[in-house]
Structure formats: structure tokens, C-alpha cells
């Protein structure tokens, strides 16, 4: 620790929940520094949080990142534009499709090319399937962090259906390299749409079941309600996005507010908590946003299946450029990932087939930066609840 924290009070009062306080009297306390991670199940990967604690209460939390740093940006400068796509998969490995989509949009904007309408529908279907799968992991592991094991098994069973569908589509279960510049790698197999429709029909009641099993659980609500409240203005100033920002009651979704692909044609709601079950901005709100977003994603998939143009002789590679050499320029393109805004700032020098600079703006990285603010004054066990509700993937935080 570079700085020293002084002042040891004898009596202290700390708020740990909505109506819950801890009073400690006449205690000679001493601050203790403990490390949470990098090998800790609730940090969802290799994150180390240095906690300065006063008894059970956290005085200061400092995250240390970089354990999974692979310098994606340096790699991207040595690769052709197409070859970068598999690397973007490995950033947020739970939402690979969405990250690919954002990267590919950046290059398409630089090239100024139009993508066939059917391709856009295919991309949105896989992106929304991926969003469901990603939220499922977020919700399941959040339950696991807090001590609910059963929902994890139920949710993973349903996630398997999505992974099987995507495996059928492109041969990979997690890291797809499916969305290409100007197209996609494989056309939908015959009957794929019907299978997706069957999945939507199958999964809707299962979401209700999941809500009943986890979200309406009294113990779960006790652990999350009123913990780690993030006010809306703080969330915006810290650059939070995705469910983190919507959990604070800000109706902001890039699919609506900065529309891309065919999202403007589709009907769906931007979910914000109503404050009935949760206190707006707390960990439970962020969890609720993820739960209700699954319903919205199912809605989007259903609409895409209905509206998607049929074409038996469709070639998904028709608009794929053979050699990508964009004119000199720069672009910042972004997409709404399950974990917030993912943006790619790409500079092309106009001379080479490799990006001059490719900066990835990661949603988790920015969302995690608000952790010291949220953890302060909470119990150590609540830091676990807060960290789980931020929903980080260290592959994306460290890139």
C-alpha cells in the first residue's frame, strides 16, 4: 500500500443493507490488508482485489488487473483485418458473437460497405442467442457466489441448448469466428430456424422457472437488496454501460439509442428496474435487468425468425471482400454487449491490410473501475455480491 489510512474509531456504525446496520462498540480495531484473489472463486477469473478491512467492514478496495493480459491491441497491429476476428472472440469468451459483431461493424464502416439484409438478420439471431447464453452464465454464477447451487445446474442445462445450436451452425461451442467482414462464415443449415423457434418456445417457461427458483428466493433477496447502490449520475460519470447502467435506472441501450444492424426494425423494450422488488441501483437491480433482458432477447429472436427473408441459394460469402484495405481514416464503432458497451477504435493508414491501431474499449474494464466506490463500507461477503453483480469476464477486462 502506497498510502496509509489513519484514524481507528472505537465505535462505528456501518450500513450493510437497506434496513440493516452493524454497531461495533469499544473495540480497539486495527486495519488489516487481505487479498481477495487472484485465485478466488468469486472473482470469476484471475482478478486480485486488495481489501483494507476493519473487522468485517471494507475500508478500501483496490483491484489489480492484468493477470490475463495478452495485449490484444499489439496482436491486432500484426494481423490482417480478417485475422483479428478470432482474437476478438477471446476477449469476452462468454459473448464472442457480440464482440465479433462490434469489431466487424467498425471495419465495415471504414470500408463503407453495405451488408445483405439476410446477413443482418442472421447476425442478430446469433448475437441474441449469445446474449441469452451470456446472461445465463452471469445469473447462474451469481447464484453460485451467494450460495444457491441448484439454479446453476438448471441454467447450465438450458445453456447447453444454445451452445449446441451454435455448434451446429459453425462448429465451435464458444469461440466462433462466425461473423465476417461483409458476411458470415456459414449459411443457416436447413431447419436451423425451426430449431431456434423450438428453443424459444421451450425456453420461455424455463425463464419463469429460473426467476421463481432464484430471483424470488427470500435468501437471495436478503443478500442482494440494497447492497452496493450505484446512483445514476455516478454510473454515468464512471462510464458504466449495459446492465450496470440500466440497473441504476438509466434507460440507455445502444440497440435503441445508437441503433445498428436491423435493431431499429425490431420491437423490444429497454429494461430498467421499477423499484418494487429492488432499490434502484443495487445489486438486485442489476440482476433483475439481466433476467428481464432474456425475455427481450427471446422476443427479438422470434421477430427475426418471422421477418428473415428466405433464399434457398443464398451465399453468405457474396459480399465478403477478398482483400481488405480500407481508405485512410479512423472509426469508433460500438455494440451493446451483454456486459456493456464494447467499442473498437480502429485507425487505417490506407496503405496496408493491417490496422494501424486497434483499440478495444471493454465494457467490463470500465464497469469494474467503479468497484472501489461500491465496496467501501460494505462487509467482505457483500464485496462478493457486488463483484458478482458487476458480472466481469477477465478475458475482456485484461484483453
Amino acid at each position: 500500500m502506497a498510502e496509509t489510512i489513519e484514524h481507528t474509531p472505537k465505535t462505528r456504525l456501518s450500513q450493510v443493507g437497506a434496513n440493516q446496520y452493524i454497531v461495533e462498540k469499544d473495540l480497539e480495531t486495527e486495519y488489516m490488508t487481505i487479498n481477495m484473489g487472484p485465485q478466488h472463486p468469486s472473482t470469476h477469473g484471475v482478478l486480485r482485489v486488495e481489501l483494507v478491512t476493519d473487522g468485517e467492514v471494507v475500508v478500501k478496495a483496490t483491484p489489480y488487473l492484468g493477470y490475463l493480459h495478452r495485449c490484444f491491441e499489439k496482436h491486432a497491429e500484426a494481423l490482417d483485418y480478417q485475422q483479428v476476428i478470432p482474437y476478438t472472440d477471446r476477449m469476452d469468451y462468454l459473448a464472442a458473437m457480440n464482440t465479433e459483431h462490434a469489431y466487424v461493424m467498425a471495419i465495415e464502416k471504414l470500408l463503407n460497405i453495405e451488408v445483405p439484409r439476410r446477413i443482418e438478420f442472421m447476425r442478430v439471431i446469433v448475437a441474441e442467442l449469445q446474449r441469452i447464453a451470456s446472461h445465463q452464465v452471469a445469473i447462474a454464477t451469481y447464484g453460485l457466489d451467494i450460495g444457491a447451487f441448484t439454479p446453476f445446474l438448471h441454467i447450465m442445462r438450458d445453456r447447453e441448448h444454445i451452445l449446441t445450436l451454435l455448434e451446429w451452425l459453425c462448429g465451435a461451442r464458444m469461440l466462433y469466428n462466425y461473423i465476417w467482414v461483409g458476411g458470415v462464415s456459414h449459411n443457416f443449415p436447413p431447419k436451423f430456424k425451426q430449431r431456434v423457434a423450438e428453443f424459444v418456445k421451450y425456453y420461455k417457461p424455463k425463464v419463469d422457472e429460473m426467476m421463481a427458483l432464484l430471483t424470488e428466493n427470500e435468501l437471495f433477496i436478503e443478500r442482494t437488496r440494497g447492497v452496493g447502490i450505484l446512483p445514476a449520475d455516478v454510473a454515468i460519470n464512471y462510464g458504466c454501460s449495459g446492465p450496470m447502467l440500466r440497473g441504476s435506472g438509466v434507460k440507455w441501450d445502444l440497440r435503441k439509442n445508437d441503433p445498428y444492424s436491423i435493431y431499429p426494425e425490431l420491437e423490444f423494450d429497454v429494461v430498467v428496474p421499477d423499484g418494487k422488488l429492488s432499490i434502484i441501483g443495487d445489486s438486485l437491480s442489476r440482476h433483475l435487468v439481466r433476467c428481464y433482458e432474456i425475455y427481450e432477447s427471446l422476443k427479438i429472436i422470434q421477430q427475426c425468425i418471422d421477418k428473415m427473408p428466405e433464399d434457398p441459394n443464398f451465399d453468405p460469402h457474396a459480399a465478403v471482400p477478398k482483400r481488405i484495405k480500407p481508405p485512410a481514416g479512423e472509426v469508433y464503432a460500438r455494440g451493446e454487449n451483454p456486459r456493456g458497451e464494447v467499442g473498437f477504435y480502429v485507425i487505417s493508414d490506407g496503405k496496408s491490410t493491417k490496422p494501424f491501431r486497434c483499440k478495444a474499449r471493454s465494457g467490463c474494464f470500465v464497469n469494474l473501475s467503479v468497484l472501489p466506490e461500491l465496496a467501501k463500507g460494505n462487509l467482505i461477503s457483500d464485496v462478493v455480491a457486488i463483484l458478482g453483480s458487476i458480472d466481469i469476464v477477465l478475458g475482456e477486462v485484461d484483453r
Binding site: L65, G66, H69, C71, E73, K74, E77, K109, L110, N112, A232, I236, N237, Y238, G239, V250, W252, N257, D258, G329, E330, V331, Y332, R334, E341, G343, Y345, I347, F356, R357, K359, R361, F365, V366, S369, D398, R399
Partner: protein, 164 residues
């Protein structure tokens, strides 16, 4: 108040800080941007952009450090008015490799704190006034800044051979 075009935003800033403070608007198709020429004015401009009633740029979407490979480094800020008008613009700042210092905006947009640490770590730009400028992604005792175009990786790191 309506959503402003990049021209209008640029005009408001020139009107407030004079024509010398910022460059002409580069109204490109993909990313309209302008460059702040006078470094000492960047913090006042940033504060003005965040608080002015007409602009309200309350959201710093992205901050990227760039090595332009001609002896200059740059920082690119992608700003957006999230809560109010939803207009956006990009602002650039440039410095030389020898004098690699730019003013920090971590006090204006708190999200810049980690972004600036990342730009310091990978590109080697020093942010004057940053509360805690340390490396964030690379180890603290790493040598050099990996995203510099002339970066050479060190031979050994704690006895481990680095280039393999």
C-alpha cells in the same frame, strides 16, 4: 434543446475559447473530430463540455492512446451526451515523444482514471494531474510501453526469457 451537429459543437467551443484553442473540424464520415492545440486549455474545455447547458458531454465512451509513428503521440477522447441530447464528438490531443505529457481529465470524467492508466501503460503518455498514475495491465516492473511502434521486448523478465 436539440441534438447538435459536430459543426455546431465545434462552433460553440470556438466561440467560448477563441479560434486559437482548437483546430478546424475534421468532419469525416466515420468520426467527426477536432484537435485541442493549446494543452493548458484542455482541462477548462473538458469541464466546459461536461457542464455547459448546450453540450452536456457527461459520458466519456472511450479514451485511446496512439503512437502515430512520426514522433508524435496522441490521445483520442470519444465523448457523448448520454443523459441529455445524445450527440457525440471526438476530441484529440497530440504531444511529442520527448515531451509526452498531456493534462489529465480524471477529475472531470472519473472513467478516465483507468483509461489514462492504460494509455500510460501501453503507449507511455504521462497524464499530468492524474491521482494514481501506475501501470494497470502490464506488471509494475515491465520495461517499455508495448504499443509504441518502436517497442522492443525485453530479453529477460525475472529470469524468464520473454520472446519465445
Amino acid at each position: 434543446m436539440p441534438k447538435l451537429t459536430p459543426e455546431q459543437i465545434h462552433a460553440i467551443i470556438r466561440e467560448e475559447f477563441g479560434t486559437e484553442a482548437v483546430s478546424d473540424l475534421d468532419n469525416s464520415r466515420t468520426m467527426p473530430n477536432f484537435t485541442v492545440l493549446d494543452h493548458s486549455l484542455w482541462q477548462p474545455i473538458a469541464y466546459f463540455m461536461r457542464t455547459d447547458e448546450r453540450l452536456k458531454f457527461d459520458y466519456l465512451a472511450c479514451l485511446s492512446g496512439v503512437d502515430y509513428n512520426d514522433g508524435t503521440l496522441g490521445v483520442v477522447y470519444n465523448l457523448e451526451s448520454l443523459a441529455a441530447y445524445q450527440h457525440k464528438i471526438a476530441v484529440k490531443l497530440k504531444c511529442t515523444k520527448e515531451k509526452n505529457v498531456v493534462p489529465s481529465v480524471a477529475e472531470i470524467w472519473r472513467t478516465a482514471e483507468w483509461h489514462e492508466r492504460e494509455a500510460y501503460d501501453l503507449v507511455g503518455i504521462i497524464f499530468d494531474g492524474h491521482p494514481d498514475l501506475r501501470r494497470i495491465l502490464c506488471p509494475e516492473d515491465w520495461e517499455g510501453h508495448p504499443l509504441r511502434k518502436d517497442y522492443k521486448v525485453q530479453e529477460y523478465y525475472h529470469g524468464i526469457k520473454v520472446p519465445y
